[in-house]
Structure formats: structure tokens, C-alpha cells
């Protein structure tokens, strides 16, 4: 919302600088985004009168003007062709400055010295978006006589400023100059003077010119209008044009300019129809027919449907309600009679139509946010008053007003002590009363309660808390003295799960892994890249209806693809090795299509490429889980996971319950991600980890009795896993094995093809007594016998 300060001061008397206004309004809730100066750097430009125009003797495209600037008469050459003798124009004198930084000097144009420059609006610093079309090319002609030599800054009000506000969606009433004037008056405690609307001469009767309005849709809340006859369409007076340009609106012609002026002033969108073009001299407000077509003001054909509310004449659509008028009923130079519409349409209907057509206008933006239906009448009459004021036509007596369900002001009761309780303040009831009345909310205090009548333009006020907010913001939230929370002492805490999460993160960073964070949504193609078959369970994913693109279109059911992607990105950036982990959710639908909230399951993903191998990852996982008190993890060979190397992958489980997977990533997957290094990855069910975590530590006394060590080396077939050997050793250890260390695996030499030698160092110890040679030898014998029987092992001597 752009608020020109001069316009604001039409309605309030206030002696504050723009900066002070901006600061005060920010603190009372109208957030200032920026302050802009109208003067973009203009200096020494004055009013001059063209005394005569001659052709340049040596240049076809130039003319030589004799210009009277009061103190002197100047010879000025120009290329413009819109000048007439007697025109009043802005003259940049020698030494003048223009917004683009140019200084004016005496310039020789093909043998003739020119002592200044005649200026266009663009040269005066106006943006192309607000310059009237007819003034776009050529010199800006002032449409009134001014004292010669008068500074153009004073005529165009260039020393003024405008404030740009961010208006919150609950305050559409502030999207108008009067709305902001009301806020200013309340903030600075001064009086608001709304224009007195009065039409002096009304002629004839509306029925003589217009056959009435028929409203056929509930999406039209109110339809109000008046007729103006004997219209002369021409450009608006400069004051009106300047007001519009200052507010960022391009002047077009008098009637349209007035409707725009009043829209800016009151916030009510208005439309002027060329009455002569209305079939049957009547208006029908209805939903469009399916596939009905109309050309809007911008000349574009629009396809309509029954969801769109339109304004039609006896035959055809003449406007899309609240969005844009029609091309055919547009005001043109020869328009003689005009129907001024001030209507109120359903915000939802306007929003949907505007969105569907991709057509967002000043009017639609305002209707979408909501407008007080009681404004229609005031705004249309204000238009009529201004038409009369600038002599653009004669107002016809009578009006159209179709308004079925009149919106009436409501009353809200406020408990002053409640306000103080909620704000934590001690504001007196009278002060509260003052704030509310200052805002134009008529309030009375009955000694106990404040009764406030809410004007219908305050669509945001419906309950007591809303009034408390009004009091709070005028008192100034920044003036509230802070008070500590009182009440029962509470102990802040994190959930157990979150604590475990923090613990895992600190263990893994301690082990040299970097924490990463990736998007919850991925591309469905990721499942191809991680080599999953079409019927993989992971492909049962939750899809977004409106993704930003395929890459972000499905909720992930695995963390592997994100991890691979980031490792690949790093690899291709030349990062030599990367060790990473992520704790994040996957999303598992309870049913497809989705009916309920999916299950969100937390996973721990650990991965790396670099100079380490499978056994390193396994050790990392064992040590990490070990710190959480999770021991006795069972590792079994996993040969069928399509994302992983069939010979180098293990399934993890505890007491038969699956915990996850760990291994080397499948060569196809590595290729799909453009990596040239082996990648190792582990995916663990984090919720299960939390469940199994046991942080209770029971101390085990340090050993008092000596240990005894024995080495054992057996030759077994290549496909026997050491885990099987260990199981047998431990089985016979009778709880006396203190540690078991695999110290050598040897192939070749005398061992023989397809065989390997596996060597262990076994340490025996009892915590109760000193062990004897004999019992250890017996255990060793049992172990060897079992190994020979079960695994066909041969003792190596």
C-alpha cells in the first residue's frame, strides 16, 4: 500500500515528518517497507510558455522555440512534435539537473545555440508505468496556466514523499488512503476528517436512462450504481493526474481517473460502463454460461465457465465481476452516458475466477481480501461529487441499490481487567476507551464494561481478544514492561528418543563421520537408480499432488538414494573421501491411495567412500551400538538386496528382530550415481535402536586371577564363515573365555586349493579362581573335536 503523504494530509492535520509518521505507524501495526521521494533529482526546472515555434533551418526533425520563463525569453531547440504556441511546459534551464544525472548546458544544434531543454514526464523522473499514454512521447504540457518561472517542484509536488506499507491480510480496510488516515489519526491522536459527500445538481431520473439491474447470483452481495449524463471525456485536471501518478496509477481520462481516485481513497473498486453500449440499457449479474466468451478491457478473449460471476447487459457479458470490465462497454472519447458501478462480490468467487484466468487486477486483489458492502454507496456518490467538481458530466437523480442481506454493525463487550490480564499491563479503562474511540470504534464505558460498536469496515474485529489487540497496539507493545513467568517450577527436558539421537550423533562425529541433512521428498527415479525392482516394497510411496517438479515429488521410503546422491556430488567435486551419516524420517503409507497420515519412521544411515572397507563399517556400527548397550548383534549374509553387493552385505538382527542392513553398495548403483569408488552403506531402524538401547551400566569387578592364553589354528573350506567357528569355540568355552581374537587368515602355500587357515588367540579366565592347565586342555579338546565334526576342520600344527 503506497501512501503519498500529501494525500494523507487531506484528511488529517498533522505536523510530523515522514520519518516520524513511518516509525509511529510501524509501532502501531502498519509495517513500513520503504519511504520514497517523488523528486528523483530534479533541480532548476521552471514553467515556461511557448511564444513561437519555427522550423530549424538545418534539421528537418528539430524545431526552435522561443520560450518565456518569466525573467527572460530563451531560444530552445527540441525534437518534440506535440507543442503549440501558448502551451505551458517544464523548462530545464541552463544549469538544471535531471534525475538521470544529466546537467543542462548550452548546446549547439546544427548551428543554433539552445539555452535549455523542454522536458517530458520521463525526464522529470516519472516511471513509465504511470505516465499517461498520450504523454509518453513528447513534452509534458501543463493543462493549466501557471506563473512563468515557477519551480516545477511546487507544481508537481515533487518535494513530497510516499510510504510503502505492508498491510496484513486481516486489515483490507487499510488498503485505502482513508483507511491509513484513520490509522494515523489513532496512532498520533489527531482528528480524521472524511470528505463530506454532497452532490449539488442532480437532473432527470435514473429510469429515463437505465432499465435497471437484475441480480441472479448470491455471489453478488450488493450492486449499487448511478448514471451520469452529458459526459465529456477528456484528460483529467493536473491535480487529479498527479494524485494518481503519486499513488502509482496511470491517468487515462476523467471518468476512469475519478473511479480510480475513489478506489484509492476508499478502497472500493468501481467500474464505469458506457451506457450507450449496453444492450437493453440494463445489467444482469449472473454466473457465466459454460464456455461463454468475452473480451476484457485489455483486448484478450476470456473463456468463462459457470463458476465465474459476470456482469452482462441484455445479451452479452460486459465485465467479469470484480476482476475486469469488458472491451465493448469501455469508456471512449465519444461516450455520453455512463453507469457507475459500486458493487460487492464474494471474495471467494473473485479469488477463484481471477486465479483461474490468471488475471489479477487492483479490483480483484481488493475483493479477494474482503470489502465492507456498505462502502459501495459512499464511493459511487463520491465519484458523482468529483464528476460534478471537475465538470465531467451531470449526475442523474436516483440510484440502483440491490442489497438483500444488509450488513449491520456489531457490538463487542470488553472487560478492561481481562485486557490488562492478557497484556500484562495496568491501562486505565478511560485510556482504553480513548484508544478505541480514536480508531473510530464508538465505545462507551458503563463503569464495569466497555461496549464497542464495530463499524462494518472492520472485518477483522469479532471477539474481545480482537479489541484487546487494538488496545495493545495503540498502547504500544514496545511499551509493555516485561514480566517473568510465574507459576509452578517446571523442569525442561528432551524425550528419551531425542537424547539417544544426540548421543548417537556425538558418537558418530567422534568416530569421524559428518552429519548431513537431505530433503524428505525425492524423485521416483531414485528407486531405479538404487536398483530396486518394480515390485519392491519401497516403491509403495506417498506422492505429492503438486510437487515442485519430479525431483521432489514423492516422500522417501529410503535414505539410501539421498546419501548416494550427496556422496556422488562430493565425489564429482573432487572430494577424496567422505564419511557421512543422517538421521531422518522415511514415510510409509498405511494404505494406497493415502487415506490416513502415513507412518513416519526414523532411520540412521551411515555411509562412506574412501580408504576403508566393509569391516571398518561393521566395526563402526558395532562400537556405536555397543555404546548404547546394544550387544550380541547377529550378522547374517544378505545376498538378495538389489542395492547391495551380494557377497559383501550383512543383515543385522537382535534376537531374530531385524535391525537393518550393512554392506558394500551394488556396483550398478555405484555406476548409476557416477561414482568410481566403492561405497559402503548402512541403514538402521532408529526407532528399534532406541527401543533396544540400555544405558544402565552395571560394573563388573576387575579380574583378580590370572588368565591363560591358547592359540588355535584350523584349516577349513573357503566358504566356512569365521562366525561359525567362533560360535563353536564360544559354545565350549563354558563362560571361561575372556576374549577371542582372530589374528590370522591364511590362504595358499601348503594349505591347498579352496581352503583357508584361521588362527585364533583364546584367553581363558575365571573371576572366581585360578584355572588349571587340565581344564583348559579339556576345553581345547572339545573345541577341536567339534570343529572337526561340524565344519570338517583340520587342526593345523
Amino acid at each position: 500500500m503506497l501512501l503519498p503523504i500529501r494525500w494523507l494530509k487531506d484528511y488529517i492535520e498533522i505536523d510530523k515528518t515522514t520519518r516520524e509518521l513511518a516509525d509511529g505507524l510501524t509501532l502501531s501495526g502498519s509495517h513500513v517497507e520503504s519511504i520514497s521521494n517523488f523528486n528523483k533529482g530534479v533541480e532548476n526546472i521552471v514553467v515556461g510558455k511557448i511564444l513561437n515555434i519555427e522550423k530549424h533551418p538545418n534539421a528537418d526533425k528539430l524545431v526552435i522555440c522561443n520560450v518565456d520563463v518569466g525573467k527572460e525569453k530563451l531560444i530552445i531547440a527540441t525534437g518534440a512534435n506535440n507543442l503549440h504556441v501558448g502551451d505551458f511546459v517544464p523548462v530545464a534551464l541552463v544549469g538544471a539537473k535531471l534525475p538521470n544525472g544529466i546537467s543542462i548546458e548550452v548546446t549547439n544544434f546544427r548551428g543554433i545555440d539552445s539555452f535549455g531543454m523542454l522536458c517530458s514526464l520521463r525526464e522529470l523522473g516519472y516511471s513509465d508505468t504511470v505516465i499517461p499514454k498520450e504523454s509518453k512521447e513528447g513534452i509534458f504540457i501543463l493543462n493549466k496556466e501557471y506563473p512563468l518561472g515557477m519551480d516545477i517542484i511546487d507544481i508537481l509536488n515533487l518535494d513530497d514523499q510516499a510510504i510503502e506499507f505492508e498491510i496484513t491480510p486481516n486489515r483490507p480496510d487499510c488498503l485505502s488512503i482513508i483507511g491509513m488516515a484513520r490509522e494515523t489519526a489513532a496512532t498520533f491522536n489527531c482528528e480524521l476528517k472524511e470528505p463530506e459527500i454532497e452532490i449539488k445538481n442532480e437532473a432527470d431520473k435514473i429510469d429515463d436512462y437505465f432499465n435497471g439491474v437484475e441480480v441472479k447470483s448470491h455471489n453478488c452481495v450488493r450492486f449499487y450504481g448511478k448514471v451520469i449524463k452529458d459526459v465529456t471525456i477528456k484528460e483529467s485536471p493536473l491535480w487529479l493526474q498527479s494524485r494518481l501518478m503519486e499513488a502509482g496509477v496511470r491517468p487515462i481520462s476523467n471518468i476512469v481517473d475519478i473511479t480510480n481516485f475513489v478506489m484509492l481513497e476508499y478502497g472500493q473498486p468501481l467500474h464505469a460502463y458506457n451506457l450507450g453500449k449496453l444492450d437493453g440499457k440494463k445489467i444482469v449479474v449472473r454466473q457465466a454460461n459454460e464456455n461463454e466468451v468475452m473480451a476484457t478491457l485489455d483486448g484478450i478473449e476470456r473463456n468463462l465457465s459457470t463458476n465465474d460471476l459476470i456482469i452482462a447487459d441484455g445479451k452479452n457479458p460486459i465485465g467479469i465481476a470484480g476482476v475486469m470490465g469488458g472491451f465493448d462497454s469501455e469508456i471512449t472519447k465519444d461516450t455520453k452516458q455512463v453507469f457507475i458501478e459500486g458493487a460487492n462480490f464474494s471474495d471467494k468467487s473473485v479469488r477463484l475466477t481471477s486465479k483461474k484466468l490468471g488475471l489479477r487486477t487492483e479490483a480483484s486483489a481488493r475483493f479477494e481480501k474482503g470489502i465492507d458492502p456498505n462502502l459501495c454507496e459512499k464511493a459511487v456518490n463520491r465519484v458523482c461529487q468529483l464528476v460534478e467538481l471537475i465538470g465531467a458530466g451531470t449526475v442523474v437523480k436516483g440510484e440502483i441499490d440491490i442489497y438483500e442481506q444488509k450488513v449491520e454493525p456489531k457490538t463487542i463487550t470488553l472487560r478492561p481487567e481481562r485486557a490488562n490480564k492478557l497484556l500484562g499491563t495496568e491501562i486505565s479503562s478511560n485510556k482504553m476507551l480513548g484508544y478505541l474511540n480514536g480508531l473510530g470504534l464508538k465505545s462507551i464505558y458503563d463503569g464495569k464494561l466497555i461496549h464497542t460498536t464495530i463499524p462494518t469496515y472492520r472485518l477483522d474485529l469479532s471477539i474481545e481478544a480482537d479489541l484487546i489487540e487494538e488496545i495493545g497496539r495503540l498502547y504500544g507493545l514496545h511499551n509493555i514492561e516485561s514480566k517473568p513467568l510465574i507459576g509452578a517450577l517446571t523442569r525442561g527436558e528432551k524425550s528419551y528418543k531425542k537424547n539417544i539421537e544426540d548421543k548417537v550423533k556425538s558418537i558418530l562425529t567422534g568416530l569421524g563421520f559428518n552429519e548431513v541433512m537431505t530433503y524428505s521428498f525425492i524423485s521416483p527415479k531414485a528407486y531405479d537408480k538404487i536398483n530396486l525392482p518394480q515390485d519392491a516394497i519401497e516403491r509403495q510411496y506417498v506422492k505429492l499432488i503438486n510437487p515442485l517438479g519430479e525431483d521432489y515429488s514423492v516422500m522417501r521410503t529410503t535414505l539410501l538414494s539421498n546419501m548416494m546422491e550427496l556422496l556422488s556430488r562430493n565425489y564429482n567435486h573432487g572430494v577424496e573421501s567422505m564419511y557421512a551419516f543422517e538421521i531422518g524420517n522415511i514415510f510409509i503409507p498405511k494404505s494406497l491411495p493415502v487415506k490416513d497420515l502415513p507412518i513416519e519412521k526414523k532411520l540412521l544411515s551411515i555411509s562412506f567412500y574412501g580408504d576403508k572397507d566393509f569391516y571398518y563399517l561393521k566395526e563402526i556400527v558395532e562400537k556405536t551400538l555397543g555404546r548404547l548397550g546394544i550387544k550380541d548383534i547377529e550378522f547374517s549374509r544378505e545376498e538378495n538386496n538389489p542395492s547391495f553387493h551380494p557377497g559383501r552385505t550383512a543383515k543385522l538382527s537382535i534376537k531374530g528382530e531385524s535391525l537393518g542392513i550393512l554392506g558394500e553398495v551394488h556396483i550398478n548403483v555405484i555406476n548409476n550415481y557416477d561414482l568410481k569408488e566403492r561405497v559402503y552403506a548402512c541403514l538402521l531402524d532408529f526407532d528399534k535402536i532406541v527401543e533396544l538401547t540400555n544405558l544402565e551400566i552395571k560394573y563388573k569387578p576387575l579380574p583378580k586371577y590370572p588368565s591363560m592364553s591358547r592359540d588355535i589354528a584350523v584349516v577349513v573350506k573357503e566358504d566356512i564363515m569365521v562366525g561359525e567357528i567362533e560360535k563353536i569355540i564360544l559354545k565350549h568355552g563354558s563362560g571361561l573365555i575372556d576374549s577371542l581374537e582372530l589374528f590370522d587368515i591364511y590362504r595358499g602355500g601348503q594349505i591347498g586349493e579352496g581352503l583357508k587357515s584361521v588362527a585364533y588367540s583364546i584367553t581363558y579366565r575365571s573371576y572366581e579362581r585360578t584355572l588349571t592347565e587340565m581344564e583348559i586342555n579339556n576345553i581345547q579338546k572339545l573345541i577341536i573335536a567339534d570343529l572337526e565334526n561340524s565344519l570338517d576342520a583340520k587342526l593345523r600344527s
Binding site: 471474495d347 552429519e515 557421512a580 551419516f581
Partner: protein, 340 residues
């Protein structure tokens, strides 16, 4: 004899001053004190002495022996000490060499910021709770008093899974869950992933993070809210930080405010980063919980009042570390991660 002893003593002590190795010293010990050493040889002649002389000479001989032994021990100690130093001198290394063989992991800067924020609120008596990333329209909008046709509900603003299920657009639905589950009084904080239909650029990401706090109790006021947030902001950004509470609008709070904090780039002096205002804008949104929201969660809004606040963690992380591009947080570039 007495003279002989004196001569041995002074010769022994003298020669020992010039000893340079432990071997040499041992040789001397043998030479003077050994079984066939000089002193022993003399003592063997004791028999020739008179009864009266014997104890006198014996005493002198013992003194000489002790003196020589002491000297040997002293010299030995010195030599050992010297040897140690010589050894260490030889072992001198270039301590300016650095190796890079060990790895240490790094926490993600945004996630560690979350942990820092949570810990700060825990110290203020808040309990950390969690909510799902996929939410119902009911929890994300309806129960939070969001107007039915509010543009934030549009497909162009929010990611939908069905008409009733979406990716949460803020952490506020956790408020609803917490109030429904625990009722009043309540003091919680919740951080996590949030999603909005924004294309990726320097400052936008379709996934971002928020932290949300909620206090519900009897007699909770705006003054309490200001107190709590002031403490929090000073703890997080520094004691010299000032706050400015500006009235604002959120559907789920009434009154609502936005909080500006002293610009971190210029510490309030005014600079291009803060448009010369000295304020870092819109760091935080807050307000008193809307009575309808309390009622929606089954809490008596006349008895209980509450305040809520929320802020973007990505922005705070960026401000904290001087990041100029939000994408850095999601790219997981190892060279970026290893800076934290």
C-alpha cells in the same frame, strides 16, 4: 700409611672429575675400591700397625672409602643424567610438521543450531516435543483458526498429498497436538522440518526449518511473552541485543507481533544489510494464543491464556554463520560441513 691413604684419596677424587663414561667410572672403581684395588691393598697392610694405630688408621681408611664411594655415586648420577639429555637431544623432531591422518566428524550447522535452541529452552523450563512432517489440514490450518480461503492454503503455497493431508507448512500443528494431548498448563518447544511451495533460490527452499514455542497457564500475559523472548534472544545473539515488538497478524494469535532484533551486521548502527534501520526484520513471530485455538484443543480460554512464538531456523543459522545462500545447508558439500 696415613700419607698413602691421603694420596689415594686425592688421586681418586681428582681422576674421577675427568671421567666421561660409565665404563671408565667402573674401571676406576675397580682400580681404587675393587678386591685388588689400591685401597684394599693398603688395608691388607693394617696388620703391621701397632694396636694404638690400627683403629685410627682404620677410621681414616673407612672415611677415604666412603668419600670415594660417594664421589663415584655422584659422578654416576651426573653421567646418567647427561646420557638422558644426550639421547633426547638426538631424538629431536620437527614439531612444525602437521599430519592429516585422523578424521573428526562435524555436526551439520543447522541441526546443531536446533540443538542449541532446544537446550536454551530446556534451561528455561520448556519440554521438547516432536510432531510429524506429514499433517492433516485440520491440525495445520483449521484448528489454528486459519481462514477457509486463506491463500496459504492454495496448491500454489502448500504441498498436498490428499485434500485433507499435506506437508506441514509450519511447526504450529505441534501446538495443537500438544494441547490436545497434554491440556493445560503446558510449556513446550518443538523444532523441525517444514515445507512450502517455494522454488529453490538464494533465500528459499521448499523444505526449511522452524522452531515453535508454546506456554499455556493461568495468567499468562504478553508481558511474560516479551520477558521470555528477550531472555532467549539475548542468550542466543548476545547481551547487547535489543528487541522491538511490532503488532502484526497471525490467524492463531491475538494480539500478534513480529519481533525485530538489533541488526547483527552493524549492531544497530544502520548498514545496507538492514536498510539503515538498525533492525534485523521479522526474525520471529509471536502472540497470545487465539481463544478459538485454545477452545479447538479443549482448553478453557477464559481460565487459561497462553503465548506462542515461532521462527525460521535456517535464517537464524544463516545470520549466525554469515551464510549468503540457503542452498549450502542442503547441499551437504563436505568442504562446507567440515567448517563447523
Amino acid at each position: 700409611m696415613k700419607e698413602k691413604l691421603g694420596e689415594i684419596r686425592s688421586r681418586a677424587l681428582q681422576t674421577m672429575d675427568n671421567v666421561t663414561s660409565l665404563g671408565e667410572l667402573e674401571d676406576l672403581r675397580v682400580k681404587f675400591l675393587g678386591k685388588k684395588g689400591e685401597l684394599t691393598s693398603i688395608l691388607k697392610e693394617m696388620g703391621r700397625l701397632s694396636k694404638e694405630e690400627r683403629p685410627v688408621i682404620g677410621q681414616i681408611a673407612n672415611e677415604v672409602r666412603n668419600e670415594i664411594e660417594n664421589k663415584i655415586n655422584c659422578v654416576k648420577e651426573e653421567l646418567i643424567e647427561k646420557q638422558k639429555y644426550e639421547k633426547m637431544e638426538k631424538e629431536k623432531i620437527d614439531i612444525s610438521i602437521s599430519t592429516n591422518k585422523e578424521r573428526i566428524g562435524h555436526r551439520h550447522p543447522l541441526l546443531s543450531t536446533i540443538e542449541e535452541l532446544e537446550d536454551l529452552f530446556i534451561s528455561m523450563g520448556f519440554t521438547v516435543v516432536d510432531g510429524p512432517e506429514i499433517e492433516t489440514v485440520e491440525n495445520n490450518f483449521d484448528a489454528l483458526n486459519s481462514p477457509e480461503n486463506h491463500p496459504s492454503r492454495d496448491l500454489s503455497d502448500t504441498f498436498y498429498i490428499t485434500e485433507d493431508i499435506l506437508l506441514r507448512t509450519h511447526t504450529s500443528p505441534v501446538q495443537i497436538r500438544a494441547m490436545k494431548e497434554y491440556g493445560a498448563p503446558l510449556r513446550i518447544v518443538s523444532a523441525g522440518r517444514t515445507f512450502r511451495f517455494d522454488d529453490v533460490d538464494d533465500t528459499h527452499s521448499p523444505m526449511f526449518h522452524q522452531i515453535e514455542g508454546l506456554v499455556v497457564d493461568e495468567n499468562i500475559s504478553m508481558a511474560n511473552l516479551i520477558h521470555t523472548l528477550d531472555i532467549f534472544i539475548k542468550e542466543l545473539f548476545g547481551k547487547d541485543m535489543k528487541t522491538r515488538y511490532r503488532p502484526h497478524y497471525f490467524p492463531f494469535t491475538e494480539p500478534s507481533a513480529e519481533v525485530d532484533v538489533t541488526c547483527m551486521a552493524c549492531r544497530g548502527k544502520g548498514c545496507p544489510a538492514c536498510n539503515n534501520t538498525g533492525w534485523s526484520m521479522e526474525l520471529l513471530g509471536c502472540g497470545m494464543v487465539h481463544p478459538k485455538v485454545l477452545e479447538n484443543c479443549g482448553i478453557d480460554s477464559d481460565k487459561y491464556t497462553g503465548f506462542a512464538f515461532g521462527m525460521g531456523i535456517d535464517r537464524i543459522t544463516m545470520v549466525k554463520y554469515g551464510l549468503n545462500d540457503i542452498r549450502l545447508l542442503f547441499d551437504n558439500d563436505n568442504r562446507f560441513l567440515e567448517q563447523f
